[in-house]
Amino acid sequence: MRRHLLSAADLDRADATLILDTAKQIDAALAGREVKKLPTLRGRTVVNLFFEDSTRTRISFELAAKRLSADVINFAAKGSSVSKGESLKDTALTLEAMGADAIVCRHSASGAPHRLAGWVRGSVINAGDGTHEHPTQALLDAFTIRRRLGRLDGVRVTIVGDVLHSRVARSNVVLLDTLGAQVTLVAPPTLLPVGVESWPAEVSYDLDAVLAKAEVVMMLRVQQERMSASYFPSVREYSRRYGLDARRMAALPDEAIVMHPGPMNRGMEIAAEVADSVRSTIVEQVSNGLSVRMAVLYLLLGGDSE
């Protein structure tokens, strides 16, 4: 393993499999226990450096670090010296001076964690940077697929929606390809990034055409907060063409699962009855995220790289 986890592309198949296997073992070790705590990272300090709003990722990383007995410091840009104009570099050097062993970073600017990694001695984990990458989300999605379907090699995964603004889609395409899955992206042409044809994935504009073959359907949130122009005529039209409702869910193969990284726009990209159905792994993804992040923290911080 490398010292940082900045991109899903940092992981080769062996590394990614090691993380998923470790998460599975941690899960088994804690199953059915009253005290869900391990002493592994006692005395280590993990800083959650969040420049952008987040509920599940920040809480998930915080809980993962605490379950491994690390000390956790939460840093939100609001209410800190950042609002007085402190730069990312000065913030990083301050945390460095306080002895952070790992910095979990979320930032609205793509590439911010990469810059950060060059300034500090500890490990940097990318918890989402702009529209670029979100590697631990891809890892927990892969973990969820493997747990539900028993394999990843050859699994047909369809990722639907706002691919353009989605760091989840980008990381998932890279990681799932590394792990041998076949990815199809479905989106309106306006919500596909330039250069998508070079990604290791098929592209389609027609959701109904690909549903019958999909073993996994991953719905993406329409990220209206990142949309400066209008990418589709209306919410209703988007929902009609690219939303997953009960009728479309019925067209899926029997074993297929429905995923969503959250937070959801119920009624827009996913209908409430689909989100709450037995095929939906949305709640499971959250609990799997905890195990996967514990595995990442253990593998990055457990040993001493020096």
Partner: protein, 190 residues
Amino acid sequence: MRAAQNAAVSAVPIGRIILDSAAISRVIDRIAHEIIERAGDDRLPELTLLGIPTRGAPLAQRLAARIAVFAARDPVPVGTVDITLYRDDLRSRGVRPLSATSIPGGGIEGGHVVLVDDVLYSGRTVRAALDALREVGRPRVVQLAVLVDRGHRELPIRADYVGKNLPTSALEQVRVRLTETDGIDEVILR
């Protein structure tokens, strides 16, 4: 390349065989009898064997099978407890892959637990296993069974059941190989 190196290594005469396959079977049978005897009729139903991966796990399986035969009773609950996340040398020796932990369905609360490992050396593995157990529950008794006790303890820990006491120098290596993990049963000192 790797295969060629391994072949070369195993072709060289490698140390002294301390226990061969038949001896290992006899030792396991004896320890099984000792566990039955020490547990007695009232505590035997509460018995759980927990192997410490890698090689403690198949040893625990074998012991459980023999105890079930000798005591003519239902299968003895057997599981594994991985101690990697409880090690005190992770920082100095680096991370390593985890092994499976599986606690039998009945749990260990109030039970009679026998930890099983292949070699008892510094005692640090056993300390870590005791820490791991504490999080799972509170057994009434915890005992330790090992195939080989090679001395050089760094902690006040001793085994309740010992297959073979083997005085060693710290420079020597004890290698336990088992059919389940290595394709052959033997204990070698080199």
